[in-house]
């Protein structure tokens, strides 16, 4: 697997670290126990197209949002994650 970083270009997988599913959204303070439990522990664990966070630690050190197929490892899009490195896009 190789990831095309929007800032650095195509790089080998070893430069990146995986965070996980990009779908769960951290609940607001005061959220119910159910919402927190859901966010921390439950996963869709999709077999197919999924979007996830990767960190380019061996390169530009930006957080990336990667759309990838978990059945084939095929990557269809890589974008800067919102709020993390995204500002560099226009720079």
């Amino acid at each position: 697997m190789r990831i095309v970083c929007p800032f650095c270009g195509e790089r080998e997988l070893g430069e990146f670290t995986y965070l996980g599913d990009a779908k769960p959204v951290r609940p607001e303070a005061g959220a119910s126990e159910d919402e927190v439990f859901d966010y921390v522990y439950l996963r869709d664990n999709v077999a197919g197209q999924t979007s996830e966070y990767w960190y380019h630690g061996g390169g530009c050190r930006a957080w990336l949002k990667v759309t990838r197929n978990t059945l084939t490892h095929e990557i269809s899009s890589v974008e800067p994650a919102a709020g993390a490195g995204a500002t560099k896009v226009g720079a």
């Binding site: 080998e12 664990n45 077999a47 490892h73």
Partner: protein, 417 residues
């Protein structure tokens, strides 16, 4: 058929041409008391214990491929019971005791080989942690020996003891640990379960659940038609989330790939199973002479059943750090398997919130050693509707209640367990 020295002699005299099939390939009936989804080691062991221990014989095991085509036939075959946390300690020892009598129980040669498992330590802190784990084991009646450097040098003289970064200081040894022939475990359970009347149905994929208006599961939809069931037990290893989703459940599980490696055959070298404590590398030598080894999971969700290069490199570096001379040995094969990684690294054996549906999941990459124990306690749950005492902590709601069994202390981060 029953295996004995006479059956072996008889078969030898007729040129090994008359061996009988060891289990029946059944066609599905309309209804069973218990349907098990998944013909891996865990599903087949569950069926056998249901029949042999709990007297429930109207049982079917449904397997989408062929039996043993999942992780049961893909793992590195290590068995041990050197766990430190309440819940795990007792359960894995129960499993170890069942390994020790498996071949007699099943009348099948599973090549269970108690050649010993040694975890090497490389720092004072690691020694202390291993001493503590060893003490926990011994308090619970499980064998463990803490070896110092001299004892390890005697046992495994070819290690790279002068490694400046990760000097070997000693190891925690469990002599009763070792390896077993993984395919034979599957075939053995199939052989014994089939003889007691269990139907083993291959090429039969479960595609949905049959449910009553109140939600209760009363059967399964399969690629070979509808099959009714008093109870349905899931033992589908890396596919747990996908099968559970058919019943509307989301699980505290992610699917990840783990790779395994086998080298060309060399003369006997590795005495038992060895693990490198400073990185992640474990190795044993098969009876055919190949070095069988592995390390970390690839670290990202996958259902692709194949691995990637960075981990391959990392695993080989671990091996080289420990025994530089294996650098000249050629790699023969590599493959990957998909496993459930649970949020605390420990298994889940429980009723689900869906009436009639039972879950056996989350084995992460240590579930082969659990095969007999898992079958035993899952059969207990299915037969009696209460958890077996050695699996009572493997609850599905432990993440909600905070009663996690986090052997590695990594928190809710499946790719780190």
């Amino acid at each position: 058929m029953k295996y004995s020295i006479f059956s072996l002699a008889r078969a030898a005299l007729s040129g090994h041409k008359n061996w009988q099939r060891t289990w029946r390939d059944a066609t599905p009936k309309d209804r069973y008391d218990v349907v098990i989804i998944g013909g891996g080691g865990h599903g087949l062991a569950t069926a056998w214990f249901l029949a042999s221990e709990y007297g429930i014989k109207n049982v079917a095991v449904l397997e989408k491929g062929w039996i043993g085509s999942g992780n049961a036939g893909r793992n590195t075959t290590i068995i041990r019971s050197n766990y430190g946390l309440p819940g795990n300690t007792g359960f894995y020892e129960l499993s170890m005791k069942l390994w020790e009598r498996m071949e007699q129980d099943l009348n099948y040669n599973a090549m269970v080989s108690q050649r010993g498992v040694i975890n090497l330590y490389h720092s004072d802190a690691q020694r202390d942690a291993y001493a503590r784990r060893g003490n926990t084991m011994r308090i619970n009646g499980i064998d463990a020996e803490l070896l110092d450097l001299a004892a390890v040098r005697k046992m495994i003289p070819f290690l790279n003891f002068d490694n400046a970064r990760f000097p070997v200081q000693g190891g925690l040894l469990q002599r009763r640990g070792g390896t077993a022939r993984h395919d034979a475990v599957v075939w053995g359970y199939a052989h014994a379960a089939s003889a007691l009347g269990v139907d083993i149905i291959q090429n039969c994929e479960v595609t949905g659940f049959v449910r009553e208006a109140n939600g209760k599961v009363t059967g399964v939809e399969t690629s070979r038609g509808k099959i009714g069931a008093g109870k349905v037990g899931m033992a589908v290893a890396g596919s747990s989330s996908r099968v559970a989703a058919m019943a509307g459940l989301r699980l505290p599980i992610e699917s990840h790939v783990l790779q395994a490696f086998v080298s060309e055959a060399i003369k006997p070298l590795i005495p038992g199973v060895m693990t490198f404590g400073a990185g992640h590398f474990y190795v044993s030598q098969s009876d055919k002479g190949g070095l069988v080894f592995g390390g970390d999971i690839d670290g990202y969700n996958s259902y692709a059943q194949r691995g990637n290069m960075p981990v391959m490199e990392d695993v080989c570096e671990g091996g080289m750090a420990l025994m530089p001379m294996i650098g000249r040995v050629r790699l023969l094969r590599q493959w990957g398997g998909i496993m459930d990684m649970s949020m605390d690294g420990s298994p889940i054996i429980d009723k689900t919130p869906v009436d009639g549906l039972y879950l056996n999941a989350g084995w992460c990459y240590g579930g082969f050693k659990a095969t007999p124990g898992s079958g035993f306690v899952f059969a207990h749950l299915l037969a009696r509707d209460v958890p077996h005492e050695e699996a009572a902590r493997f609850r599905l709601d432990r993440f909600r209640t905070g009663a996690m069994i986090d052997e590695k202390g990594q928190g809710a981060q499946p790719n780190l367990h």
